[in-house]
């Protein structure tokens, strides 16, 4: 098992040029996440209206897996209801731990490889944990 099986090209693209990276103006919800093991630090900011995630962005300093996961995640959750985001976060956690889970968007499956590297599961899941805690943390 070599690293090119974990760091697939699409994943590397997301880590080198992350989407939705930067501060979010008029954020309604936000939270910080931290991985004490490797030093990943990430902040997720959301704009929620009518029970739907209208906008999602992230900032921070994190490893390639965590950054790519956040990049893909923020793209996927836009337009979803808060309930649907919670469900998807649960599915993603299962994907990262087991390598496969039914009915998960194609774009997220690129991160399924982390289940073979137990120390990296936390890196992939951290953005989702931070997203879920952001939904519970209104700004101001």
């Amino acid at each position: 098992m070599m690293d090119n099986e974990l760091y697939q090209e699409v994943l590397l693209q997301h880590s080198k040029r992350p989407r939705n990276f930067g501060p979010l103006e008029n954020a309604t919800h936000a939270a910080d996440g931290h991985n004490a093991l490797c030093g990943d630090e990430i902040s997720v900011a959301l704009r929620v209206g009518n029970g739907t995630v209208e906008e999602a962005k992230f900032t921070g300093s994190a490893c390639a897996i965590c950054t790519a996961s956040a990049s893909i995640m923020t793209g996927e959750v836009k337009g979803l209801t808060c309930d649907a985001v919670g469900t998807l976060a649960g599915k993603f956690r299962q994907l990262a731990k087991d390598g496969n889970v039914p009915d998960i968007p194609m774009k997220l499956q690129v991160l399924g490889g982390v289940h073979q590297f137990p120390q990296r599961v936390k890196c992939a899941v951290l953005p989702w944990e931070t997203l879920v805690s952001a939904l519970d943390s209104p700004v101001g």
Binding site: Y7, L12, A36, C38
Partner: protein, 408 residues
């Protein structure tokens, strides 16, 4: 280099391991060191023919176990140039030794309004026990700052802060990230001139270079077996005997008690027994003693020179990589090289390196406030010891270069 590295390497079985067909290159010595065959053999021989509990059985095996356990105390006393073996209390490691002093000497001597002086470069183990004590006692904590890039301790500020007469100055001898050695002798002299008690964290220095507690002039020093070719699970507190004598116990139970009663307070034994409640790490003590003999026979000054030479070699070659920043002084004073790379996260570097057989540490190295101050929450660290070679430095540099190209 004075060390006969090829002869040394033959004595370390872990070097026969490989990763994905690559020879294992172990550069995580600041986290823990590997064990030579003679330590492994000593421990199995001890279990085969010398094992029993210590200090309590009137039978052959208990006598043998007690002799081995006390021999370890004597070996460590010699290594540290302690005045007597009774100045050494065994603990689970450096962390427990700090907690021991904080809970005994600290609780007795630190009160409301007192100051504990630390440095900004402390490992969590020499930071959190003191912060907890200060909170409990209503005491204040001050820090001697590091200069730019963690190059050194700011000695001018150290002098100013010591002149304010803190009760205690606890500092690390060799920090686990910066590749420097603090001027411990001078710091202890300045502290004593101001009447300040000193505690030295020797986790990265003992067993890596000569350390003489009498020459340092400190009051307490802590160290760990596993960082110096011995097993994990045992370490020690060295303290001046008059200080140890005046300290109350902190853990209660067998072995540390003199007289016990149902209905009146117990009396306790003299140090070091007072601080060794319960059955100690007997097997580990036997292994540690063998590790100390091995290191002394190899030569601690040579080990230090060898490790520093490799670290300097690595630092100068790594510096050629664009965007790579090395923490600490220009010239290495210990075998440690911690670095961050612009645009490449340390966790990815370590993962990439491991796939190629190279063991590197990534993260905050249990020094979160320091790494935050240096502006790098996560960095990579290579740390060298007696079995490492110049070829392994080449491997490190090549793999880091390859990793930078892959991730950037």
């Amino acid at each position: 280099m004075a060390l006969n590295t090829s002869e040394i390497r033959e004595q370390f079985p872990f070097l026969k391991e490989s990763v994905n067909g690559h020879p294992l290159v172990y550069l995580d010595n600041a986290a823990s060191s590997q064990k030579p065959e003679r330590v492994i053999r000593r421990m199995s021989r001890f279990l085969e023919s010398e094992y029993a509990n210590v200090h309590r059985g009137i039978h052959l095996l208990s006598e043998r176990a007690t002799a081995a356990y006390e021999n370890a105390r004597a070996e460590l006393a010699t290594l540290l140039n302690a005045e007597r073996p009774e100045e050494i209390a065994f603990t689970r490691g450096t962390t427990e030794a700090v907690n021991l002093v904080a809970n005994t000497w600290g609780r007795k001597n630190i009160g409301a309004g007192d100051t504990i002086l630390l440095t900004e470069m402390e490992h969590h183990s020499n930071l959190l026990p003191w912060l907890h004590l200060a909170r409990e006692a209503g005491a204040k904590v001050e820090y001697v700052p590091v200069t730019d890039n963690g190059a050194a301790l700011d000695m001018d500020v150290a002098k100013t802060l010591l002149a304010k007469h803190p009760k205690l100055f606890a500092f690390v001898h060799v920090p686990n990230t910066l590749g420097l050695e603090n001027p411990a002798t001078e710091l202890c002299r300045l502290a004593h001139e101001a009447g300040v008690t000193t505690f030295v964290d020797g986790a990265q220095s003992v067993g890596h270079q000569p350390v003489d507690v009498q020459a340092l002039g400190c009051d307490f020093l802590a160290c760990s077996s596993h960082k110096m070719c011995g097993p994990s699970g045992i370490g020690a507190l060295w303290g001046r005997y008059e200080l140890l004598s005046a300290m109350p116990p902190w853990q209660y139970g067998g072995e540390m008690v003199d007289r016990a009663y149902y209905d009146k307070p117990a009396t306790f034994r003299e140090p070091p027994a007072r601080f060794e409640a319960g059955t100690p790490a007997i097997l580990e003590a036997a292994g540690w003693a063998e590790a100390i003999r091995f290191l002394r026979e190899t030569g601690l000054e040579d080990i230090r020179e060898h490790s520093i030479a490799l670290a300097n070699d690595a630092a100068s070659k790594l510096r050629d990589i664009e965007g790579l920043r090395i923490f600490g002084p220009e010239t290495r004073q210990s075998g440690i090289v911690a670095f961050s790379i612009e645009g490449v996260h340390a966790h990815d570097v370590s993962f990439f390196a491991n796939e190629r057989g190279l063991a590197l540490r990534a993260g905050h190295h249990c020094a979160q406030p320091l790494m935050r101050k240096l502006g790098s929450p996560s960095s990579s660290r290579a740390s060298f010891y007696l079995y490492n070679t110049a070829r392994e430095v080449e491997a490190l540099v090549a793999i880091v270069r390859e990793g930078v190209a892959f991730f950037r």
